[in-house]
């Protein structure tokens, strides 16, 4: 399947925005991890902003960056949100409450616990009535989202915003699901080449498992394996590079997805 990229966005430790991260991802500058300042979800009305945690804010901020740099209105596209898990802080709070003697779950926490909370707040923030889906593929969620977005473009849509995000889990969840760093990325994908296209992608399902792509920089490779959404890094690095590349992403426990990347 052929599709085009109009913009990319990234928010992670030491990678704050596409423009500031491009040279690092291309290997032209050294990666220097630094704690990520909490993203500001300035798309959201203040009252809603107070109700949302870091997961929603990260997803909204990175999605907003992608649309802004593509020069498209925020309410103009269908969206695909992917993450391995819901907001870990919310799940932790709810599970502590339910394990205790008084099971008074906070109503706001409960509606923020759904996997599609970022998608819901995206709608509230952008006033977009376009379809939005929220998917999960455990560690392979980014590849699943790319596949879904590509299928949407093939089947019936002209543009799709893909947003991948996962935030650190608190203890004790971290003990069994060790996600320690936040990572968000977004791609504005189009069916046809436009005058804003920055790259062409060819997405294909591999018949058999192929060696997956890794990051050559050790710290970036650590980030890639730490956070499920950071499995997007090899694709983002290819988008930052001038050379055509063929990368391989894992799409489930045993299968892979091949993505050819040709930047313009």
């Amino acid at each position: 399947m052929k599709l085009f990229v109009e913009s990319a966005a990234i928010l992670a430790p030491g990678l704050t925005g596409w423009a500031a991260s491009r040279a690092v991802l291309a290997g032209e500058k050294t990666y220097e991890p630094a704690p990520l300042a909490p993203p500001v979800a300035d798309l959201l009305p203040a009252v809603e902003r107070r109700r949302t945690g870091s997961t929603v804010k990260l997803a909204l901020a990175v999605g907003h960056e992608a649309l802004t740099s593509a020069g498209r209105p925020v309410d103009s596209v269908a969206t695909v949100f992917v993450s391995s898990g819901n907001d870990g802080d919310v799940i932790n709070d709810i599970c502590i409450t339910l394990a205790g003697p008084d099971r008074q779950v906070s109503p706001t926490r409960f509606h923020n616990s759904v996997h599609n909370a970022p998608s819901g707040y995206w709608g509230i923030a952008t006033h977009s009535h376009h379809p939005s889906t929220s998917l999960c593929g455990f560690d392979w969620s980014f590849a699943i989202g790319l596949l879904e977005a590509a299928a949407q473009l093939q089947a019936d849509r002209r543009e799709v915003l893909l947003v991948a995000y996962d935030t650190p889990y608190p203890e004790p969840l971290r003990g069994i699901r060790p996600v320690t760093q936040p990572f968000g990325a977004a791609l504005l994908l189009t069916r046809d080449r436009t005058n804003r296209s920055i790259a062409e992608l060819g997405v294909g399902m591999d018949a058999r498992p192929i060696e997956i792509s890794r990051m050559s920089d050790a710290a970036l490779e650590h980030l890639r394996t730490d956070n499920p959404s950071a499995r997007a890094l090899p694709l983002l690095a290819a988008l930052a590079s001038a050379q055509p590349r063929l990368i391989t992403l894992q799409r489930d426990a045993g299968q892979t997805l091949s993505v050819s990347v040709r930047t313009f």
Partner: protein
């Protein structure tokens, strides 16, 4: 869209295990709801619970996936010849050409709820707790994929109560894009404390069993269950007549996280898009299976939306009084109830509903009707303002 036929479908809920027992419960107006006695939940509400004795451990080779949610999934896969049909399709198309698209809201979160009770002195979760294959949202799709040894695209769709309706959309696009020849599409959700106490905190649980569209309706009854469809592209060798997915419509309310748009704007858009995708006029639809949860606001806004698209003459009902609100599974379960209605020529009424709310305008069926149904719509709406409508019908390839 090109119609995609239902090669086989199966269902399991508190109303019935398998198609025949579900059809029988519908026919006899026998609700699956009962006073809540789930685990340690102490709530003044009714639930649609599948008897624990029916929920056998998952197949031994998949023991890592064992949890209530995957047990519910397995129970469904074993009904109505579903597993044999998937294995036959696997033989026909090859495992790489069959995708898995499963909607779920809470997956196996109940395992984590239980594990939190067993935290050690340092606060750590027990070593035998398996997160990835139980609680993680993908667990149920991974389980279904592993159950059949499939290697096509596999994903969990988790958009709260529209999850498994939207799973049909993802599957249809994947087939249209040529990435799959067939798809196992469905939804699975199971009782857990998070949803019981969560909806309780929102004041949305009915103390007496949900009564959709009733003047005295007072909330939802949470249910559990699964619905599974083997969806296939039409080709030579397809059956002479079958049930098919004709259209899918999806939209976002862009209004509020847990309250539907007051005018039903998103719901209307989803129904209109479904009609457009099927190339049908509203008058072609014989029956609408409503989302009809039984909350004051859902039923009132869905009523406005349906009347805006269809007027007030199309027969409608909600079957949540039988199954309870099965959350992420209701899109698939309700689509299967529509398939039963088409296949067996009846329109379900509404168990539990006594006095229709005079403020609501759509043509709501209280009693079952024996009547041919050629085209049916199924609505599913969820938290986050997510809406999905499906159109199903009888097709002759």
């Amino acid at each position: 869209m090109q119609p995609l036929f239902f090669n086989r479908y199966a269902v399991a809920s508190s109303a019935g295990i398998g198609l025949d027992s579900t059809a029988q419960a519908l026919g006899e107006m026998r609700s699956g709801l009962a006073a809540c006695a789930f685990e340690t939940a102490r709530l003044d509400t009714f639930v649609g619970q599948i008897s624990d004795s029916l929920l056998a451990p998952v197949r031994a080779d998949l023991a890592a996936f064992d949890c209530r949610n995957n047990r519910v999934a397995q129970l469904c896969l074993q009904q109505d010849g579903f597993d044999q049909s998937v294995m036959a399709a696997r033989e026909k198309y090859g495992p790489a050409r069959i995708g898995v698209f499963v909607g779920t809201s809470t997956s196996g979160i109940h395992e984590t709820e239980l594990a939190y009770r067993r935290r050690d002195a340092a606060g750590a979760l027990p070593a035998d707790f398996r997160y990835a294959t139980t609680h993680n949202t993908y667990s149920v799709a991974w389980f279904v994929q592993s159950y059949f040894g499939l290697t096509g695209a596999s994903m969990a769709i988790s958009t709260a109560c529209s999850s498994s309706a939207k799973a049909f959309g993802s599957a249809a696009r994947m087939i249209a894009a040529g990435l799959c020849d067939a798809a196992v599409v469905g939804g699975v959700d199971s009782l857990c404390l998070t949803t019981l106490y969560g909806f309780g905190s929102l004041g949305l649980l009915s103390p007496v069993g949900c009564r959709p569209f009733d003047a005295d309706r007072d909330g939802i009854s949470i249910g559990e269950g699964a619905g599974m469809v083997l969806l296939e592209k039409m080709a030579d060798g397809s059956p002479a007549e079958s049930i098919a997915l004709l259209g899918v419509g999806e939209s976002s309310d862009a209004y509020h996280m847990s309250t539907p748009h007051p005018e039903g704007l998103g719901a209307r858009m989803a129904m209109e898009q479904a009609l457009m995708s099927a190339g049908l006029r509203p008058g072609a639809v014989d029956y609408i299976n409503l989302h009809g949860t039984g909350t004051r606001s859902n039923d009132a806004t869905e009523d406005k939306a349906v009347c805006a698209v269809f007027g007030n003459d199309t027969p409608c009902s909600s079957t949540k009084g039988w199954t309870g609100h099965t959350l992420g599974a209701c899109g698939a379960i309700d689509a299967i109830i529509c398939a039963l209605a088409i296949e067996r020529g009846f329109m379900p009424g509404s168990v539990n509903t006594r006095t229709l709310d005079p403020a609501l305008g759509l043509r709501y069926l209280l009693d079952n009707r024996s009547q041919p149904v050629d085209i049916a719509m199924s609505n599913a709406f969820g938290f986050g303002g997510t809406n999905c409508s499906l159109l199903l019908g009888r097709v002759q390839p």
